[in-house]
């Protein structure tokens, strides 16, 4: 059975431990009362469902999947089908509903799909997988660096801030054009070497 694509995060917060294999001893939804045969079947269903989930792109940054974005938190068997646990990225992300619809549609053949939004612990860009970050970079979006904790308001001149490398030519001669970009999760930059504008996935 292939490992799920998501990071399983301890309920009390803390650092996600990385992609974890589901514990085969853990009950899979209601299947813990079923026969071994049914349990095996359920396990196959779950891994097939993970396989489908892994293919669903983020609607706003389609180069990475929902799983690579780190917003799929869990997948469980229910009596009628499956339950998918998602964590929203930004409070007002307009893609939240679309993502839920896409998940429902993609998993429709597994029965009734219940979607649970789990807000805590809050999503952070640290949960974007390394593969996801590499794909962002290749696509021309500078991936987020490590998210830092609460920061005091900075009043330093923009030029003295840490430079971000251009995802196209690698030059660090770049400047921020806009703190907000085409979506809630990105900011707009430009490269002073190759003259191309590019987006940066903001670390939060």
């Amino acid at each position: 059975m292939s490992p799920p694509c998501t990071l399983r995060v301890p309920p009390q917060g803390g650092e996600p431990a990385g992609p974890a294999k589901p514990d085969p001893r853990a009950p899979l939804g209601n299947s813990n009362t079923a026969s071994d045969l049914t349990a095996e079947h359920a396990c196959g269903r779950l891994s097939a469902a993970w396989e489908v989930l892994r293919q669903i792109p983020d609607p706003e940054v389609p180069v990475i999947s929902l799983c690579e974005l780190g917003i799929v938190r869990d997948l469980k068997e229910t009596a009628a089908g499956l339950e998918v646990v998602l964590t929203p990225t930004y409070s007002g992300c307009p893609a939240t509903e679309l993502i839920q619809d896409n998940v429902r549609e993609a998993l429709a053949r597994f029965g009734e799909i219940a979607i649970t939004l789990q807000r805590a612990p809050a999503w952070t860009t640290d949960w974007i997988s390394e593969e996801g970050k590499a794909k962002l970079q290749a696509y021309g979006i500078a991936p987020p660096g490590p998210a830092s904790g609460p920061q005091p308001v900075r009043l330093v001149h923009r030029a003295s801030l840490t430079r971000l490398a251009c995802p196209r030519c690698g030059s660090e001669q770049t400047e921020k054009l806009s703190a907000f970009g085409s979506t809630a999760c990105k900011a707009l930059y430009r490269c002073l070497s190759c003259r191309e504008p590019f987006e940066h996935f903001k670390p939060i």
Binding site: Y90, G92, A122, W123, R154, A179, F180, K202
Partner: protein
């Protein structure tokens, strides 16, 4: 046929959450009015994005408030079917958007206040409120930083930008008092652990304000004794007009969806 208005109960925990939820919702509506009118394209995007964050925060809190109220009202009903006196945001949030200097001063003051509030609400006795706060606190910090950048540029900018930002400060200053009121609703929330007494945020907010004003070479206006009463449901003349526009569609076409 138009849609009947709804009323919420008077449980203090409900009122406390609505004061915050309505602050986010009403400020979001005012900021969103900049969409298509920003002074530059980047700022148009920024203001729309901040409005989206705020409306997202409001949705979470309104949903929770609806559960606490126990009348079966969802976020949409609470947003679109309450009349003016059933809204409990401080008056600051509902003032018309004004010019860009006015919006910037208000955004900095509001984001600084919300950031402090969310920081404390992360430890709320209500797990759902704490979860909403865990996300919102990061967004408020980003909004605060963005408004701070502009405030410094406007204050320490041209003669005209300075004149406008000084006028905005003078006009807005008395409204800030309402962000730190104390009353029974506030005391009950502090006692139950739902959220902080707003007065306990004042010292940190004042420090943030002074730091940024000093960097912007601006002076804080003289303190005012005026305390607006939006938190009690008594609003400025602007609120009704704003709600009329915000609620029109749901009132005219009840339950209409896109």
């Amino acid at each position: 046929m138009s849609q009947q208005s709804i009323k919420v109960g008077d449980k203090p925990e409900l009122r406390y959450l609505l004061r915050i939820a309505d602050s986010c919702l009403v400020l979001s509506q005012r900021i969103a009015e900049w969409c298509g009118h920003g002074p530059i394209l980047e700022e148009d995007l920024a203001l729309s994005n901040m409005a989206l964050d705020l409306v997202g925060q409001a949705r979470g809190l309104l949903t929770r408030a609806g559960e606490l109220d126990g009348q079966g009202h969802d976020e949409d009903q609470l947003a679109f079917l309450r009349d003016e006196r059933q809204y409990f945001n401080p008056v600051l949030m509902e003032l018309p958007r004004g010019d860009f200097a006015f919006t910037t001063v208000r955004n900095f003051a509001a984001a600084s206040w919300l950031r402090l509030l969310w920081q404390r609400l992360q430890h709320s006795s209500d797990a759902e409120v704490a979860a909403i706060a865990g996300k919102a606190v990061k967004e408020a910090a980003y909004h605060q930083q963005h408004a701070a950048d502009w405030l410094v540029r406007l204050g320490d900018g041209t003669e005209e930008s300075r004149r406008r930002v000084e006028a905005a400060l003078a006009e807005l200053w008395p409204y800030f008092n309402e962000l730190f009121i104390s009353d029974a609703v506030d005391a009950a929330a502090a006692a139950s652990g739902l959220g902080p007494a707003w007065s306990s945020l004042h010292a940190d907010w004042q420090a943030a304000m002074e730091e940024i004003l000093s960097e912007a070479t601006l002076a804080a206006p003289k303190p005012s004794r005026y305390v607006p009463s939006g938190h009690l449901g008594i609003h400025s003349e602007h609120m009704g007009h704003m709600l009329a526009e915000m609620q029109y569609l749901q009132r005219a076409y009840p339950g209409g969806v896109w």
